[in-house]
């Protein structure tokens, strides 16, 4: 009904290959952008304090969307399961911290990107087993990564500059006189930085997955044997997926610590977080960029808002709310798995298809 595709014909392959060939989609994206870049920064979210909106809802959501994108590239597009996500975020965070201490006057944003690169490297190493094993087995291998890294974050004090606390504190950084990180930085600044990262990374991801390399990932995912016989080298395909995915996860990890939490200990990177990110991907929809957004938003925002309202509106004790949301998360996950294993993205897709055919059923 919303779609009016008559007359939208393509006379060049370039147009055909564009990210949003349908005009109405372009509009949709524009609206989303306006909300994220203008409306929310100005008005915040209804019923929530402006401060809370930014630092408890929007910033984390944006960061976790990057994480989800990363994991989705690996799990959804390349079909390689990983339970080490949180730990890889840790790698991002700690390496960013180290980079900042080693090169004190390096621009914060560059540090973030570099930490992504480091993580990509680490991710590739831990991706090696994927050349021999699949499924659960691979999952266990990635668990090894998870626990080893957790251990490393505690036992290698060099990583946190031998702080007694064992935590990493974010140093003060600025750019063009704007405070980027540290206690004095404005939430809005940090929000915009994260948002820009998200937009750029989304754009890059969508490019890669529509191109040769993305295709090689999906080939491996859908039918690895056929892929090989068409000339895809599993080594390159799988490892590049691990690297690219880890790059995203690393960046999100760095952002999480330096532009959201402000300080972090190993708890922020433990196995349970890995599962939360996994949920984001699955609820959002495997192999879908839009899905990554849905997943992160649903899994993060709903509980936060519930807790907030629970406290402020109904005065429910936070502990109960905590448990309630945990249960809720589990239930949502189950329902998704039972009703539509391809997640919200698929539901969205179906709805869109219906709209495109409206008023006809087919």
């Amino acid at each position: 009904m919303y779609f009016r595709e008559t007359g939208q014909f393509k006379s060049k392959y370039k147009e055909e290959l564009a990210a949003f060939p349908i005009f109405e989609d372009k509009i949709g994206i524009a609206i989303a952008a306006i909300i994220a870049f203008i409306l929310i920064p100005i008005f915040g979210l209804p019923g929530l304090s402006y401060e809370f909106t930014l630092s408890a809802v929007m910033i984390p959501v944006v960061i976790f969307t990057i994480t989800t994108l990363g994991l989705n590239i690996l799990l959804g597009f390349a079909g390689q399961i990983s339970l080490g996500t949180a730990a890889f975020m840790g790698v991002g965070a700690y390496s960013c911290y180290k980079i900042m201490t080693i090169f004190p006057d390096l621009n914060a944003l560059i540090c973030v990107v570099l930490s992504g690169v480091v993580t990509a490297f680490v991710g590739t190493i831990f991706g090696l087993p994927s050349l021999r094993i699949k499924g659960f087995y691979l999952m266990v291998a990635t668990l090894a990564a998870q626990f080893f890294l957790e251990w490393a974050f505690i036992r290698i004090p060099w990583l946190y500059n031998y702080n007694i606390s064992g935590a990493i504190e974010v140093p003060y950084k600025e750019m063009f006189g704007i405070v980027l990180t540290g206690a004095k930085s404005e939430p809005l600044t940090r929000y915009f930085i994260c948002l820009v990262f998200l937009v750029v990374l989304t754009w890059l991801a969508s490019n890669v997955i529509r191109g040769r390399i993305g295709r090689s990932w999906m080939m491996i995912r859908d039918m690895d044997i056929a892929a090989e016989l068409i000339g895809v080298r599993p080594l390159t395909a799988k490892l590049s997926a691990f690297a690219f995915s880890s790059f995203y996860i690393g960046i999100s990890g760095a952002l999480m610590v330096f532009f959201w939490l402000g300080a972090a200990e190993v708890e922020s990177f433990d196995i349970n977080h890995s599962f939360t990110y996994l949920f984001m991907v699955i609820i959002g929809g495997l192999g879908s960029i839009t899905g990554s957004y849905f997943g992160a938003i649903l899994v993060w925002v709903i509980p936060v808002i519930l807790k907030e309202y629970g406290k402020s509106v109904f005065g429910i004790d936070a502990f109960i709310m905590e448990n309630f949301t945990t249960i809720l998360l589990g239930v949502v996950m189950l329902t998704i798995l039972i009703v539509e294993p391809h997640g919200l993205a698929r539901i969205w897709q179906i709805a869109k298809q219906k709209l495109r055919l409206w008023p006809f059923p087919y």
Binding site: K14, E16, I230, G231
Partner: protein, 260 residues
Amino acid sequence: MVNETKKVMMEVKNINLRFGGVIAIKGVSFDIQEGEIRAIIGPNGAGKSSMLNVINGFYHPQEGEIWFNGEKRPSMEPYEVAKTGIARTFQNIALFKGMTTIENVMTGRQLQMNKNFFWQMLRYGPAIEEEVKHRKRCEEIIDFLEINNIRKTPVGSLPYGLQKRVELARALAMEPELLLLDEPMAGMNVEEKQDMSRFIVDVNEEFGTTIALIEHDMGVVMDLADRVVVLNYGELLADGTPKQIQADQAVIDAYLGVPH
């Protein structure tokens, strides 16, 4: 029919393939000439598919040599074999279920594409030009196989016959010198079989692609093939023109199931 002066493209010399104790192929040798349609037939479990798997490097025979374009081929992984210009379709369709027809065909161009990660990420300049170039080629193949109207359909939802055709399209997109077809007409109705045979001949003529195919339907084989290899219990039973094969007593026995 077979033109004796034709150049030999591939030659397999006394291949032995064992899985643990099981002997899949026993000392089989034959050749494939440039531009011909070569059929490999035989009862179930005769080692036909294994033979193809050996040719495109999925199995590594314990003994035997493979000569390709006049050179002895070292032991290769499937993806390396693909690089040498050998494409293949599967007995039980192996399409990429998550993709549409055109996307599946595009995968056939992987090897011809080479723009690096950087350009891929920007999807700009060289990368997009490359995409366009290969998309055009794929469209031509799609047009050739008359699957234009399912261009954007997810392959999972296609009827069996069409899926087979898409798989052929994908293989053609690789522009192979040698095309291996593993039972291209298995489970098709008469009409679909006719179409498929027509396409196979067209491919052989229009693109001059050499084709080696496994097929059960004798009628089809006899129409299509220039020469036929007959395998039985992993051994070479006969090798010759369809006429010779039809006349061959051993073959007849094997097919009538006379005990070995």
